[in-house]
């Protein structure tokens, strides 16, 4: 079983991202489970959402303490929350940031820094970074393929909004693939 923990702020779409990643993984033939850790439901407050992937039925219900992957939607969270806590050796951290990573990262963790905010502003016109980060996750982890992700986005959003979000995911996906 592999586990993903998403760190974000209320309103950035962390819960939606977890759900869509689970949908894409399921469509790709895996068992998946996505759930939120609801705190104070308030725009801007730190929130977490979780996804589990496995090739058999998932029974475990606890939150995720030792993730294989993390997604950090907002690098300012790193000041307030230890986003790397419990990360597995060889784990992948996808961090939305405009700057180079200047803080200590646990040994054995691969960091992928991506400017998802700029991608979202350019492709969607709003600083909602979840779909771009999903694209980056697909590229970096290999847990979900891009076509499944595209389908999952289309199931959730309609028309133009789906197209724009897919474009954001694609740009991030290509950027991570290109860098690899």
């Amino acid at each position: 079983m592999r586990e993903l923990r998403i760190h974000g702020r209320g309103g950035q779409g962390s819960v939606t991202a977890a759900e869509l990643i689970a949908v894409a993984a399921f469509e790709g033939g895996m068992h998946a489970q996505a759930f939120p850790a609801f705190g104070v439901e308030r725009r801007g407050a730190p929130v977490q959402a979780f996804v589990r992937f496995d090739n058999k039925k998932i029974r475990l219900r606890s939150q995720i303490y030792e993730p294989d992957y993390i997604i950090v939607q907002d690098s300012t969270l790193i000041r307030d929350v230890n986003v790397f806590q419990g990360m597995k050796e060889g784990g992948i951290a996808i961090i939305n940031t405009e700057k180079a990573i200047s803080y200590p990262v646990p040994e054995g963790v691969k960091v992928i820094a991506i400017d998802a905010t700029s991608i979202a502003l350019q492709k969607i016109g709003l600083p909602i970074t979840n779909t771009a980060l999903m694209g980056a996750f697909a590229a970096a982890s290999g847990e979900i393929d891009f076509a499944a992700l595209e389908d999952a986005v289309k199931r959730r959003f309609k028309g133009d909004l789906a197209t724009k979000n897919i474009a954001a995911a694609r740009a991030a996906y290509d950027s991570v693939k290109g860098a690899a």
Binding site: A18, E27, A32, Q33, F35, F38, R59, L60, R61
Partner: protein, 385 residues
């Protein structure tokens, strides 16, 4: 068809396929997604039901009571403080023998205010005459609604049912659920045939006054009907299994109980985590098993006694506390095992949404081995000083 969907939406889908004729519910976290989805289905004419908007949970269940007495299949959903507000109507539904089915998306009761999960809400309605079924995952939460209507509407039962599943932990989780088609649902659940109903052309009164010379007899009959459900639930559960491959004939369900030395007893979503923890403990050579309680009301004491007959100790995980006494499940287990020498240890756990990990389950088993029980598990040190 296997689909990945949110627990609340899977339940709403199943409820729609149960063809309720009247739905009345008041939104409250974490139940809201269910009734939102049903309201949408009614508005889109996807289901042929009357959706009554009400101003409180008291009104919601009162509307259901009236509609059920008038001969309709009815549905409601609530949680926590909402269920508390329904308290009086709950007793009336059972006393009038109305087969209302209601989802309880389990949540803690205030104060302190908490939107998170434990099972204090439905447990607090323990003595109301409602049947109470608890689901481990979203598949079971979905399927138990079909089962509940079948059992409640059986003319030898005629009691309302709670289908209980853990708030957020199940209701807000996306996971694969095999949903029935409308045809499959219809093949299992026939149209509602009321035992008796309000009809102006053939008048009848429900819920009449009973003087001391008759009140006990009415209560006796409710109790007899609830106990009758101990045989009706397995029958309906078996039939569900024969049709759709998922068997719910067990009022309780054992997991790796053969040769188990220590049995954990639990209800609801925590059972999943317990099973994973048991696999790890078994790998480490510890003989641990789980007895999952699916039907809390009626309580299957005989089945529990039988299932626990070979173990040396029992550790009960209670997501509730009967304040000043013990957890409600532990009390039942001790009663079922009365006269045996098997120690039963109670652990109050996961109240108000506190997370439970596999290592917590292993720790509970260790505590039981040390003979330490009847405690709140995992308290902060500051209250213990």
């Amino acid at each position: 068809m296997l689909e990945i969907t949110e627990g609340s939406h899977a339940v709403a889908d199943a409820v729609g396929k149960c063809r309720p004729q009247v739905i009345a519910a008041y939104p409250i976290t974490p139940q809201t997604h269910i009734v939102e989805a049903l309201a949408e289905m009614v508005a889109n004419c996807e289901i042929d039901a009357e959706y009554i908007t009400v101003e409180s949970e008291f009104s919601a269940l009162s509307a259901c009571l009236g509609a059920s007495a008038a001969g309709s299949r009815v549905y409601s959903a609530t949680t926590s403080q909402g269920l508390a507000l329904m308290f009086e109507v709950c007793f009336n539904c059972a006393g009038m023998r109305l087969p209302v089915v209601m989802s309880i998306v389990n949540r803690a009761l205030g104060a302190p205010l908490s939107i998170w999960n434990d099972q204090q809400d439905s447990i607090s309605l323990r003595d109301s005459g409602w049947l109470q079924l608890y689901a481990e995952d979203n598949q079971e939460a979905t399927d138990l609604h079909y089962l509940a209507y079948r059992v409640s509407e059986d003319h030898s039962i005629l009691l309302p049912s709670f289908v209980c599943f853990d708030g957020f932990i199940l209701s807000h989780t996306y996971e694969p659920v095999d949903t029935l088609t409308k045809e499959q649902a219809d093949s299992y659940l026939p149209p509602f045939k009321p035992f008796q109903r309000l009809d102006a052309a053939d008048p009848i009164s429900f819920g009449l006054f009973a003087a001391p010379d008759y009140y006990m007899e009415f209560r006796y009959e409710i109790d007899q009907a609830a106990k009758k459900a101990l045989s009706v639930i397995p029958k309906a559960g078996r039939e569900f299994g024969e049709l759709f491959g998922r068997d719910y004939s067990g009022l309780v369900e054992g997991y790796r109980m053969d040769d188990a030395d220590c049995a954990l007893v639990a209800m609801g979503s925590i059972c999943g985590t317990v099973k994973d923890a048991i696999d790890e403990m078994r790998d480490a050579g510890k003989k641990v098993g789980l007895l999952k309680i699916r039907s809390f009301r009626p309580f299957p004491a005989e089945e529990v006694k039988k299932a626990l007959s070979g173990v040396s100790r029992v550790a009960v995980l209670d997501k509730n506390i009967s304040l000043g006494s013990k957890g409600a499940v532990a009390l039942e287990i001790r009663d079922a095992l009365y006269g045996s020498q098997t120690p039963v240890y109670d652990y109050i756990i996961a109240l108000g949404g506190r997370d439970v990990r596999k290592k917590d389950i292993a720790r509970v088993v260790s505590l039981a081995e040390e003979g330490k029980g009847d405690l709140f598990y995992g308290l902060r040190d500051e209250v213990l000083k």
